[in-house]
């Protein structure tokens, strides 16, 4: 015999203002099997929860209906309270009388009636509830970190430091990411490599971190706590176990003129190369697209000079599988290349700025390399075309950012700060030089950020002009920057020696593909989506997959590092448990009636449907039916809606529960 208690919450005025809660409680007690009902100002408060616990004991309740806010908010709270009173938590259901009623109506009488209806429906439904227990799944206490930039390194170090194994996968030949290319970092102007390289080395040497560079994630199967990852270790053409990193091959390589990725095309590198001197690992890679041997079958100079016989022209991509329990995605960003026409037709580009046409019109990362002591000019500010010191430099912000008509709607966030830094670095190195910055707004929210920009303006005398640039063109060896000063309302024309464009931060070109491999959502720009922008900012909606750094949206270094540690702590929360407890709200197949059309498998977004062979006692195959992997199933119910014969049900939302809930209306 079901003994149901109904608890009506006022939610302060949220419900109480539109729904007459005492009347609702009085009506609820009249419903069949309801033996107790009461209303209270805040049911979720401690006294409110205690009322439920007491009522369960005093009235021997075996089911509880709480009429309150959305189950999203407090279902867990009330189920826990019930569990504390000795009731199975799944014998507690919420009737949503806030979002579904009080918030969307204003007529008290009708809203009150509707609240009673909603409760009656839930009461009818709960009669078909049955006790459920959490599903327990084992956890592989090892993490995969995708991306070896500062975010990935930080996340890997944090997890490794807590005593768990980490697989760190980086697609480039060295870890370090974009941070290794930067000269100084805002707002403290400390040398980027000086603070980064110790971290790189620490990650490389850490006994708990296994590093795969020049590698990519090919495939991911499984689910939270139990992922199976396939890593493609691309052919480096150098045997890592033999190479000592002496660098002789790099010196002797006859190809000298391949554009250096690390120097953003401002310098050249050989066909066999280490991206930069502090690269980790310090093992060269052969760029097969430019190597003479791979193009003509002749040369082998590197092989001849290598004393360790480490060169392997035959090397092939290697596929490695690893079992991991958590995945941290830290794949970073790319700068929007404005000279190339975007695949996205909405992004029209900025041909009028002459990027790609004039050698001295460069982007932010190129300026970083020019300003960097490890760069092609050894830190001296020289313009690319004639290696002369530019006396007048114009910096243009928001090239592609905040521009719905030609670029992207979003703000790239870091450009205001790095442009101020660029202008400041330039002024520090070229004392008699002039620096101009065209900006839309200065967005310098952050610790010490606004002070930094003020310093650029006030102490280093960088000239900030509020306005857009319409055109950059060459005239007698100068670059004429035509713009508008919108504060004084006059057109501006500057004869510059060099122009630096703060181009938009965009997602990695392969971001969407990786998201599909991982099964995580991404936005229209290719940035990965978090579950909740405020309360769950580093979790993807796929359990066990976390986000760090600029792959989620434009981020600066402090934010990326904070996010990485946050993501690492999320993985550690998972690893802190022996078994994973999952809500038992998962799909279940009726094997008697399933005919194996597998439409459920086709529609399942989580790959949770598997094939199961049904055999008779003699071992003969009778039929093949669908079967649910309860570790993967997220309880979305799409399979239920699709199954033509209703042979798959969601436990906790089964046919009878829903049928009688509807019927009560």
């Amino acid at each position: 015999m079901m003994r149901i208690g109904v608890f009506v919450c006022h939610c302060g005025e949220n419900i109480g203002k539109t729904v007459d809660c005492p009347t609702v409680a009085k009506e609820a007690i009249k419903l069949p099997n309801v033996v107790y009902s009461i209303d209270y100002k805040y049911m979720c408060s401690d006294p409110g929860q205690n009322m439920i616990k007491q009522a369960i004991a005093e009235h021997k309740l075996n089911a509880v209906v709480v009429a309150s806010c959305s189950p999203h908010m407090h279902e867990k709270t009330f189920r826990k309270a019930c569990a504390q009173a000795g009731l199975n938590p799944y014998m507690c259901e919420i009737a949503n009388v806030r979002e579904h009623c009080s918030w969307v109506h204003d007529n008290v009488e009708e809203a009150t009636k509707k609240a009673v209806d909603l409760i009656r429906m839930t009461v009818e439904r709960i009669k078909f509830n049955f006790p459920l227990s959490e599903i327990k799944v084992p956890i592989t206490k090892k993490a995969l970190v995708i991306g070896g930039g500062i975010s990935g390194i930080q996340a890997a170090l944090d997890i490794a430091g807590a005593g768990f194994k980490v697989i760190l996968v980086e697609k480039e030949p060295s870890i370090g990411g974009h941070m290794s290319q930067l000269s100084e970092t805002f707002p403290t102007l400390d040398c980027s490599q000086c603070i980064l390289t110790p971290r790189m080395v620490e990650a490389y040497q850490h006994p708990n971190i296994k590093l795969y560079t020049y590698s990519e994630v090919d495939n991911v199967d499984g689910f939270i706590g139990n992922f199976k990852v396939t890593i493609r270790k691309k052919a480096r053409s150098v045997k890592e176990n033999l190479c000592t990193g002496c660098g002789l091959c790099v010196q002797k390589c006859p190809i000298k003129k391949a554009p250096s990725e690390f120097d953003e095309g401002l310098a050249n590198r050989p066909a066999i190369y280490v991206p930069f001197p502090q690269a980790v690992p310090n093992i060269p890679v052969i760029d097969r697209t430019v190597c003479t041997f791979f193009k003509t079958g002749k040369c082998q100079m590197c092989k001849k000079v290598c004393g360790r016989d480490a060169i392997d022209f035959e090397q092939k991509d290697e596929l490695i599988t690893e079992d991991v329990g958590a995945i941290i995605v830290a794949t970073g960003y790319k700068l929007y290349k404005i000279d190339k026409k975007s695949k996205d037709a909405a992004v029209k580009g900025y041909g009028e700025y002459g990027y790609g046409k004039y050698k001295d019109v460069i982007d932010g990362l190129q300026f970083e390399r020019i300003a960097s002591a490890s760069g092609p000019t050894a830190g001296e500010i020289l313009r690319p075309s004639d290696k002369k010191q530019p006396k007048k430099v114009v910096f243009i912000q928001c090239v592609g950012s905040r521009d719905p008509s030609k670029g992207f709607e979003y703000c790239s966030k870091i450009c205001c700060m790095y442009t101020a830094k660029h202008a400041m670095l330039y002024k520090h190195k070229v004392h008699d030089g002039e620096a101009y910055v065209f900006y839309m707004d200065i967005r310098a929210g952050g610790k010490g950020y606004d002070e930094f920009v003020r310093r650029a303006i006030e102490e280093d005398h960088v000239k900030y002009i509020r306005g857009r640039v319409s055109r950059v063109y060459e005239k007698k060896g100068k670059y004429i920057v035509k713009g508008e000063d919108t504060i004084s309302g006059v057109p501006v024309e500057i004869e510059a020696d060099m122009v630096v464009l703060a181009t938009a931060i965009v997602a990695q070109p392969e971001a969407a593909k990786l998201a599909q491999t991982l099964g995580i959502p991404y936005d229209k720009y290719g940035f990965y989506a978090e579950v909740h922008p405020k309360l769950r900012p580093v979790e993807s909606s796929s359990g066990g997959i976390f986000l760090a750094g600029a792959c989620q949206s434009p981020r600066d270094i402090p934010e990326s590092v904070a996010m990485a540690s946050a993501a690492a702590s999320k993985a550690l929360v998972l690893f802190g448990n022996e078994m994973l407890e999952r809500e038992p709200i998962v799909a279940k197949v009726n094997e008697n009636t399933c005919v194996g059309c597998f439409y459920c498998k086709k529609v399942c977004a989580y790959n949770a449907i598997e094939l199961k062979e049904i055999k008779d006692k003699k071992g003969n195959l009778v039929k093949v039916v669908a079967s649910v992997n309860t570790g993967l199933c997220q309880g979305c119910g799409t399979c239920n809606a699709t199954c033509p014969s209703k042979s798959i049900e969601l436990i906790g939302f089964n046919d009878e529960q829903i049928f009688y809930q509807i019927k009560a209306l």
């Binding site: 005919v595 059309c597 439409y599 529609v603 033509p644 049928f659």
Partner: protein
């Protein structure tokens, strides 16, 4: 070209199949009926002509035929349902030997005026030469002609208001006697326990009431959307004369116009339900 009898004999002599599903003469003049032939000695009664209306694919999923290697006489439209059955894991391609019929159209009905007209589904047929077959057989061209009256009706229904359309279907479904002949004839209604027979809880009322009739016919139309290949057997066998093709053909039209999808053409093609594409139209979401 060889006739159906010699092909069928070859099937058994060369051990291509354990049984053969084909057509034979029925007792009434001008009718045919399905027949299951089990040996070369029984093949002489097989026939193949424009009165071979049944879609024999519906017998492929019958329990008694499971696990057997089955040869089947199939017109292009029937082959579409075989393709769909393969795509939906109900049969294996290697277990079915398809004797594809090069067909110029069948009669609209066995008797009456309609027996002189070509079936409406044959008017816009794109598989007169079978698209999946192990061997083919010719069916004589009897020069049947006719108008696509249903196409005109669909257009008329489209131009109606929602209320008018509802009234139209109310009148049609009023006739339903819940005999489930539509389901039994349909090659794609292969569920062992139909939702209409589910009793705990009973989603579809079993008695032929207005509500139950609506529930049944609408559920069936939805279950066939993106799957129906338009053999039109449901409408042909309906004893109450409900124009079910109006529903099914409309669904097929929508699948084609909105998603560029046509069922029954390839067993490897992704199914309509279960395929998500960023380019999918969303205009129907209001």
């Amino acid at each position: 070209m060889a006739d159906i009898i010699s092909i069928a004999r070859g099937v058994f002599e060369n051990k291509k199949a354990d049984i053969l599903i084909g057509y034979t003469k029925a007792t009434s003049e001008g009718r045919t009926r399905p027949v299951i032939v089990r040996s070369a000695d029984e093949v002489q009664n097989l026939v193949l002509n424009s009165s071979c209306l049944n879609n024999l694919a519906t017998y492929l999923t019958r329990k008694e035929n499971k696990g057997k290697k089955v040869a089947i006489v199939a017109k292009g439209c029937d082959i579409k349902s075989i393709v769909q059955l393969i795509a939906e894991s109900q049969i294996k391609r290697e277990n079915v030997y398809i004797i594809g019929v090069k067909c110029n159209g069948v009669k609209r009905s066995f008797e009456g005026e309609d027996s002189k007209k070509i079936a409406e589904k044959c008017l816009n047929c794109n598989v007169r030469t079978p698209h999946l077959a192990d061997e083919t057989v010719d069916m004589s061209d009897e020069g049947l002609t006719g108008k696509d009256e249903k196409a005109e009706l669909i257009e008329k229904l489209d131009s109606m208001s929602a209320e008018e359309r509802f009234a139209f279907w109310e009148e049609q479904f009023e006739k339903c006697i819940k005999c489930y002949a539509c389901r039994q004839a349909c090659p794609l209604c292969y569920c062992e326990r139909c939702i209409a027979d589910k009793s705990m809880p009973r989603w579809v009322e079993s008695s032929p009431t207005k509500r139950g009739n609506f529930a049944w016919n609408i559920v069936r139309a939805f279950h066939l959307s993106g799957r129906c290949i338009g053999c039109n057997e449901c409408e042909r066998v309906c004893p109450a004369g409900i124009p079910l093709s109006l529903l099914n053909r409309k669904m097929v039209m929508v699948a084609k116009s909105e998603f560029g999808y046509e069922s029954g053409m390839s067993a490897d093609a992704p199914t309509l339900i279960g395929t998500y594409d960023l380019k999918d139209k969303e205009e129907f979401i209001k």
